[in-house]
């Protein structure tokens, strides 16, 4: 037991937590934006794969790192548009469409990767984002090393949380997005185009997801592997519910999950001799299920989530 507490006091653990949390932040915020507008986006797993592949590929083909991030966001937005055409404009099942997008987007990413790099046996590497030490702040013991010696994309992820909160809760467009997820008829009655608001929200949200994927290949690792998103998209969907559709709480939930993830890797090494390592692998997921059960009582779903809006339909 004391081993576990020792882990919690190492800067390495906290640095790993912050690294692991970054893609979760992008993904969760992306999903949160979609759902606030009333659209569940289960394409997230596939869209993160697209982001991971396209951002990395941009850099591998000679582009610069930030260009790769923007390219990944653009690709994400395109798949978001596809999702929006089916679910917002045609009013099809958001579950089925989302899972279809995930299958399609993942398969397409692997296909394009193989098409462009048919001969690669070991995954080729790029030079990823490097850690930036923030003057003075990085000298603080423990926290300095954990939080202020990260890559630029991690800082971006952390700054995105208040930014998304501000836009959703303090700007007219954020109000329109939230209202579209609560009562689209009310939005229409105020002369705002619900379909446009929802489409835009899904596209922006999907761009966030893709950037989350790109973080994994461009900042965390330096190569693209098959199956490297590894369910992170689904975790983001759960985190949105855990967060009650609130960006601040999303950060807390993501940190909790990332912390457990970082902890289990280290716990495997320290007490792995007595307990099978699969037990530790399982821990973060078990904990998220428990957390969801506790939180589920209080959650307030956006009331128009999953409800397609059709103009001029008899109500």
């Amino acid at each position: 037991m004391s081993d576990l507490f020792d882990i919690l006091l190492t800067a390495g653990f906290w640095a790993a937590t912050i690294r692991i949390v970054s893609p979760l932040i992008f993904g969760t915020l992306g999903e949160l934006i979609c759902e606030r507008a009333g659209v569940l986006n289960l394409g997230i797993e596939g869209i993160m794969t697209v982001g991971a592949m396209s951002g990395w590929m941009w850099v591998y083909q000679g582009g610069d790192l930030w260009g790769g991030v923007i390219f990944a966001a653009l690709m994400g937005a395109i798949f978001g548009l596809l999702h929006a055409i089916f679910t917002v404009h045609l009013g099809l099942s958001q579950h089925v469409t989302g899972i279809g997008i995930t299958l399609f987007a993942s398969a397409l990413s692997y296909f394009v990767y193989r098409m462009l790099l048919p001969d690669a046996t070991t995954p080729p590497k790029i030079v990823p984002f490097q850690p930036i030490e923030i003057p003075w702040l990085s000298d603080i013991p423990l926290i300095g090393e954990a939080v202020f010696s990260q890559s630029a994309m991690t800082y971006l992820a952390l700054l995105t949380v208040p930014a998304v909160w501000y836009v959703l809760f303090r700007t007219p467009v954020g109000l329109a997005v939230r209202m579209s997820g609560e009562n689209p008829v009310a939005v229409e009655a105020q002369g705002i185009n619900v379909l446009a608001v929802r489409t835009a929200a899904v596209m922006v949200g999907s761009a966030f997801m893709a950037v989350g994927g790109a973080f994994i290949t461009m900042s965390w690792f330096d190569a693209f592997y098959f199956g490297m998103i590894n369910g992170r998209g689904w975790i983001c969907v759960a985190l949105v519910i855990f967060a009650s559709w609130n960006p601040g709480r999303a950060l807390v939930g993501a940190l909790l999950f990332a912390g457990l993830e970082a902890l289990q890797v280290r716990a495997q090494q320290s007490v792995g001799a007595f307990i099978p390592y699969q037990f530790f692998l399982m821990l973060p997921y078990v904990m998220s299920i428990v957390a969801m059960i506790i939180m589920a009582r209080k959650t307030k779903y956006p009331q128009a989530l999953l409800v397609p809006f059709r103009r001029g339909e008899r109500v």
Partner: protein, 515 residues
Amino acid sequence: MTDLQPVLEFRNVTKRFGSLTANDAISLSLHAGEILALLGENGAGKTTLMNILFGHYRADEGAALVDGQELPPGSTQAAIQAGIGMVHQHFTLADNLTVLENITLGTESLYAWRQDQKKARAKLVAMSEDYGLLVDPDVLVSSLSVGERQRVEILKALYRDARILILDEPTAVLTPQESDNLFATLKAITKKGLAIIFISHKLHEILAISSRIAVLRRGAIVGSLETAVARREQLAELMVGVAVARPKLTAIAKGEPVLEISGLSTDGAGASTLKDVNLTIRAHEIVGIAGVAGNGQSTLADLLSGLTQRYAGSVRLNNSALPTGDPRAVVAAGVGRIPEDRHARGMVGEMEIWENLISEDLRSPDISNSGIIINSSKSKSRAVRQIEEFDVRCSGPEAETKLLSGGNMQKLILARALSRKPTLILANQPVRGLDEGAIAYVQNQLLQARQRGAAILLISEDLDELMSLTDRIAVMFHGQLSDAIPTGDRTIAEIGLMMAGQGSVTPGEERSLDH
């Protein structure tokens, strides 16, 4: 602009939904400072016309003109800019957002980087004081009462400088006192030069509030007159087509007790928990329960429908205990159920008529092979007979149920419940939201069932209905049920007092009366 120019004019507006003509060449005009009442039954086309004006629908023919300018069809934005404000029948508010957020949505550019909440709040507060529509801008809509929500809807329209205010059945959800407040507000609004269209099917309201009345029937204007010269009977006849008389009770000898409830209590706290309820209903008898919604009527109805499981006390049907928490057994024991909400509980809208009609007797040999395989040809031919017997207007047994009007859907529920010749009929708000013709039909069916020997429990919030249709009447308040005394022994005013918890709701005498 002279006073003669109408602020709003409809010219030959026609709208069709498939084969149904919802609006048939409607021409109307509205002047500043007047309240025009649009009178008509459910389905007469009132709401459709307003939805065309507000850009929710596009008219097939004709146009709406504001200040002589044609409104571009199908654009809500254009309608708002032209000064039209609509208070929808089903409020268009988001519960989880604040009053201020609901009102300011769409009033600022979507590309602005921040909301000017301070300015918006100041404007809203000034306006709500100006019009006497007081509401706290910073509370969530979900915490507001229905009357307050309506105030928010009206403020929303006024906030955007509406000059023409449309209210679609605004009193349907209000208490009488709230309605009076609303009328005072509307009169104050017209004094400031706004024009109002007031949509309703309630005659007394329209006579009280409007300056002019247009009557719609089956999508067409069938009469237009000044309120000062309008008479109630004349309006009723214009609205319905022919005068429909509501059925009345005839005297009949009572039979054996069918339903005997004694000392019935349910678990929990709150106004809807039953507390020591006693009630006996005999064959050939209709007993009414009056009360404000949420005082335990639904709990009692759920229990008799087999939906609630646990209770203390005894409930006996035809001298044997009523099965609890088992709807199928309850139906088999002879209870016919007309649920309060026909959409949520009565019918599955997405399924076909014949499927809904057999849903209470899936195990009967007429319908299925020991509950495993449905005999659809038998079921459908039975559905055809029921549709004919109960005069359901539909394209056939395979029509989708949600396409039916409220009245026809209620007839289907009657067909399903009454075809089994139940000994006890539980009728919970059976005529709510129906038009006059359908109301008369439903009430006649209940009276026929009484004639046949059924015992009927009629739960209603409409005191006129209870007074004309019941043998005895009881009042429910905070889960307690008063004695059921012969209808006519108490005035409507006395019952009204008991519904508000004043007057005696003391159970106990009835048993000595009956036995």
